[in-house]
């Protein structure tokens, strides 16, 4: 853990302590379990977003992709009768493919990630609505998939499966980003693409890889969301989720300039964001202020981090 991660952890513990003191229900089993489920759901695509942000890119189509892949998944199993493991495979392959397209447009066509994924945000949302004729996609009455429901939305040892999946993904992502050759190349390309190429790194491949990882994880996240909500209204499902993801990354120490950030940071960032949502409910703050609370805390966090960095820099200079 680096200093930023520790700072974030302390912040989480302080906020948790205060909320628990004001409203003991925060620590009730049911509340913790619900929050853990949401952390799992939002965490999956936040880690997806992290892989693109570390390349100095940005992925704005996450929410739309979650809507599109969600309606496709439900259509496959509920209407077309495709066995659910195959349906999952199909959805994940589509997710990876959409990521591949983004990666291609960014590297080979030289477009800016913001522009590419902004178009994705519009296109996939539109396609999702067209796919269902703007109707809500869901299961018909009495339809049930016990194994799938247990696998995706069930609990083991009191922990929601979404949360377990998130932890597994986080561990793998940590190893990939911080210990693997690919991860080192990713950080190098994100920090200084030109220097990376002078060291023989094929930056295009590395960046495309990041978008594929992002698409794949977004697809997995889409399946969890589909089974969590069980009905998807394609015009609103997943709206703004990309912004949650970006916010979690920024809180977790990722720089939008690329090449910086830790997976532990994103995990903590997701936890903090979900706790803030929970806090709004538990403390009786009007839920319309939800976003305002989130925005304020992120701004304060980033500002504090910046000030600490400056302070450390001054200390260093003074010690020279």
């Amino acid at each position: 853990m680096n200093k930023k991660d520790i700072g974030l952890l302390v912040l989480i513990l302080v906020v948790a302590g205060i909320v628990a003191l004001i409203n003991p229900r925060f620590l009730s089993l049911i509340n913790l379990s619900n929050t853990a489920n949401l952390i799992g759901l939002f965490g999956l695509f936040s880690i997806a977003e992290a892989f693109v942000i570390v390349t100095a890119g940005i992925e704005l189509s996450v929410g739309s992709v979650i809507a599109l892949l969600g309606v496709i998944f439900i259509d496959l199993i509920a209407v077309l009768g495709v066995p659910w493991p195959i349906a999952m495979g199909i959805v994940i392959v589509i997710g990876a493919f959409l990521g591949r397209i983004n990666g291609f447009l960014v590297t080979k066509m030289g477009l800016q990630p913001f522009v590419v994924t902004l178009c994705g945000l519009l296109v996939y949302r539109g396609v999702a609505r067209f796919y269902t004729n703007d109707a809500t996609a869901g299961f018909t009455f009495g339809q049930s998939f016990p194994t799938l429901e247990w696998f995706i939305a069930g609990r083991s040892f009191g922990l929601p499966h979404s949360f377990i999946a998130f932890l597994l993904v986080a561990i793998i992502a940590w190893v990939v980003l911080h210990r693997s050759v690919y991860g080192r190349h990713l950080l190098a390309v994100g920090k200084n693409e030109k220097a990376a190429e002078f060291s023989g790194i094929k930056s295009d491949r590395i960046i495309i890889g990041a978008y594929i990882i992002c698409g794949t994880l977004t697809a997995i996240s889409a399946i969890y969301f589909a089974m969590y909500t069980r009905s998807i209204s394609p015009s609103s499902h997943g709206s703004f989720y990309e912004l949650y993801g970006i916010a979690a990354c920024v809180l977790g120490g990722f720089s939008l300039r690329g090449g910086e950030g830790s997976i532990i940071g994103v995990v903590l960032g997701v936890i903090l964001l979900q706790m803030l949502q929970n806090l709004v409910n538990l403390l009786g703050i009007p839920s319309s202020l939800n976003f305002a609370v989130m925005g304020t805390v992120i701004l304060a966090g980033v500002l504090a981090d910046q000030q600490f960095a400056r302070y450390r820099e001054r200390q260093q200079i003074a010690n020279k």
Binding site: R179, V181, A195, E197, F198, E260
Partner: protein, 499 residues
Amino acid sequence: MKKGGKLTLEFQDISKSYPGVLALDKVSLSVNSGEIVGIIGENGAGKSTLMKILGGLIGPSSGQIIVDDIIYKRLTIEQSFGSGIAFVHQELNVFDNLDVAGNILLGREIFSGKLRLLDNVAMQATVNPILKRLGANFVANSLASTLSLAEKQLMEIAKALSMDARLIIMDEPTSSLTASETNILLTIIGELKADGIGVVFISHRLNEIIDCADRVIALRDGQVVGHLAKAEISKESMIQMMVGRKLSAFSSASTTTVGGVMLEVKAIVTHVYPNESVDFNVNSGEIIGIAGLVGSGRSEFVQAIFGIDKKLNGEVFIDGELLKESNSSHSIAKGLYLVPEDRKDCGLILDFAIDENIALPDLKSVSQRGLINLISQQKKAEQQQKNLNIVSPSVATKTVNLSGGNQQKVVLGKWLAMQPKVMIFDEPTRGIDVGSKAEIYQIMRELSEQGVAIIMISSDMEEVITISDRIAVMRKGQISGILNRSEFSEENILTLAVE
């Protein structure tokens, strides 16, 4: 604000201490109008601290500064600027998206009317006479992006003049200029002097100091270690003062026996000169210097060989084997390495630690099943740190905190940790202190003795002549001639380099 007219500047016993370090130790010096003072010293000798005090960026810990008979404890930025002191920095601050007038008058734009719109006519009328005085071949409304490096440097000088500077501090102004561009600059400095402007000239290139300076002051470890009057200035005397010992590397000649052809380049065409093609051989154990003006296509040529700059045509053979792909990753796999000109932006990832940089091109050697072993990575780097004498508390230090010479050694360490067959050095000693330079030459010698074929691009004439076994001179994308050792001279090289 005092402008025009004469200026006298005097530093008396200026010291600057940081916790644990005495950056300047009772430095006294003076500069008068119409005088060119050369300041020399290795990196870390205290030159930049001195300049920062002069510019008002930092205050001295003790001592006093006397400008025009007024005594200051420290100068503020406004006082420094107001006394007519101007800087021409080593790294140019040029806005490529503005025109020359916009650059020169940045922050001092001329407005007109109630809407305070830019008055381009007035701005050009202000700038053009200055450009004319400097003999510039560009005008106020030329776009900065169309200027060469030397012209940009000239623009910076014009900026200093536009502020009616009486003293101009030039910090390594020639580090990115070729020989002919440097000569133009030196002529202009001479003219400034004739106009009564004082010039402080900081340079690692001793020949330029010899050419222009009236006096030389040498700094070492924060102290003034010597003064030379005009008559005493010579390369030997300056080097001796800077390093405190005689350097042998400056007169070393090659003793290597040259082997068979290691690198063969056939009909390479680069995008900057699409109508020219280059054929070229380098033998095992040979050092080939590439001389030529900036813009002659030298860097593009070697980058095309390396596969960074996409070549339009041509073939590269290493040890008789054709490179099937033209990309840096394939070249590196075949033993062809490049030490780029711009070490901060291409050679290193500055935010990475020393060990992370050294391991970067060959992470396989420190990893198992795709996962990096941090201990192997550290050991690999520590070995290079020892071999290359990289001065740093540990290999976990970020390279951004190293001096130029040590940064360059880390770049070398990346490649020496592997098995080079062909090494290309693009301006390997630019902006590097004399001590590190000698070490880098020594490394090149050792590599050539091991049979590595070496290409070295350099704008430092003396360096090319001292180090090379053969010199290829480039002009407008072509090799205009190849000189053997017996034909080496600055005149011969220049004749081939210019039209």
